[in-house]
Symmetry: C2
Subunit: 365 residues, 2 copies
Amino acid sequence: MTSASTNYQTVDIALGARSYPILIGPGLLRDSALLATHIAARDLLIVTNETIAPLYLQTLMTSLGDRRIETVILPDGESYKTLETFGHIVDVLIDKRLNRDAAIVALGGGVVGDMAGFAAASYQRGIDYIQVPTTLLAQVDSSVGGKTAVNHPRAKNMIGAFHQPRAVIADTRTLSTLPDREYRAGIAEVVKYGFIHDAGFLTWIEANTAALNARDDQAVMHAVRRSCEIKAEIVGVDEREHGLRAILNLGHTFGHAIETATGYGTWLHGEAVATGMVMAADLSVRLGWISPAERDRTVLILQRFGLPIRGPAIGGQRARELMGMDKKVLGGKLRLVLLRQLGRAEVVSDYSTAALEDTLHDHFG
Amino acid sequence: MTSASTNYQTVDIALGARSYPILIGPGLLRDSALLATHIAARDLLIVTNETIAPLYLQTLMTSLGDRRIETVILPDGESYKTLETFGHIVDVLIDKRLNRDAAIVALGGGVVGDMAGFAAASYQRGIDYIQVPTTLLAQVDSSVGGKTAVNHPRAKNMIGAFHQPRAVIADTRTLSTLPDREYRAGIAEVVKYGFIHDAGFLTWIEANTAALNARDDQAVMHAVRRSCEIKAEIVGVDEREHGLRAILNLGHTFGHAIETATGYGTWLHGEAVATGMVMAADLSVRLGWISPAERDRTVLILQRFGLPIRGPAIGGQRARELMGMDKKVLGGKLRLVLLRQLGRAEVVSDYSTAALEDTLHDHFG
């Protein structure tokens, strides 16, 4: 209950009976009144990890006030985003005899959110779920869309569910403790929203590079809000990911190949996406969709946030194999998200295979 | 493609975009045209078990015609309805590189259907699913409601999802190979629909006991159809199980205690439900809701199908503990489904605890 609570913005996700708000601002974790308004359940399981727990768990528990609160603290890292860890969360739910009216609170980044969300989706066929994302990536990506999942040893996010949260509490002040590399990886996704859907936002990002790099409260709040709005606009049109929503995967098909080849967690997701977006821009140039100058602008924006722009030397053939396992394969044909212009992405499957192979060869060779 | 295909009935489950038909009749597994109409996917994974596979897998595959068909044959039994077996199905989906446009066909009883359905619900966050139930229980219970799940070692159906099938193909001729005990256990659920919602159906059952015990085609087809209709009527009012739908659990709270105490699979589910319905009738008499004569009629109907009417001697205290873990506990208070009259069940939580304890003592003592 601090004065900081007055400084926040809300993005309303309109999904009929499953509508929910995303609250964005500095210091929300300390705002008991706000938490009381948006978290109704009396019995909670907070799922977090060993990195986040020492930083924010006690603060959150104190702000949640007089309820029954159980906790499960997972090891940190994508390598633990497995069916086994999911099973462990369910074991705790059962051990603590949490019922259908209990809710799961995910305190952490995307890995925690994905697993806690899948546990909430599956426990007794679905209980309530509140996201408290503490990474920039999670605030701008996991907050919208209702995706939950765990990885399979051979492919990411293969096991999961669509399960909308009741609320997302994005305390932007938690980003102050993010390692620089992780913060920048989150910026890659922010920039992505500009590339795929909003040239004006891209221009705003270029004008506010310094403020974003300094993690300025107002700049970060605007970046998170606008990112969530853009994602909501796209997901609202296509909740179950049959068409337009796939443009959100700009850079992801290439990026997944990088992450899989190097082992989950070696490259951060956002880093792989940044490099993947450069590859998508490169292929878009080869297809004559955007100009070399626009590709260079793409590269420059990412570089100014210290993001990688070149893939690991795994070879073009290996990259193709890895992309063949990607979910975006439809009936055996690899669909890709490319840039029709900066600010407009499209899903295509009728591109030149030779151009794709040249891109893979140049970047992975 | 036999003349038998002309003899079937359809129950349409109306759920907007997720509507689907239940097709009920003898010989449907051999009806290629009907299968082609209702199973659109070109790539299929048939999930079945080692008991059903030798009986019906080849017939089904032949009738499905020219498609890509992969199979996974599970060990038979509720004890394999685990997160591990679910993981195995997912492994096969990934090994075979089945994509989002593939569908899972569940050929078997409720255990196969629950696991295959949960795999379909979770694989890549949801793919199509067709049920081909080969037990009476699965035909009258799993066909409606979209419930999928696996068990946790300490409680049944704790991990799952609501995932509606695209179609249910209930070939009543497959019941001819059902062991007598399993067939009778299915009848317990048929009778349940009469108890909870349709006194007229109960009277029809009493008049057709001999035909049902002889597995007469027309009697079975009517029993399956009317059961599905009643369940659909109840589920249609309350898809996500917040209120009325709970009456479908008549006998189940007591029954789960029996199943858990004796170990999954020792008592068949329908047997436990039959005994549980006797206990619910007994408690209903103690509360003055139904007469002792109506309780005796309940017992007699079940006995005429050779169903058990008395629980194992686990003791009343142990039964209470086991029921405390049941999902029907709401905020610490055990809700029970009882009979207001034969043909009308109600969910109650304001019954006399002493009457419940007397019932448990009498039946489990």
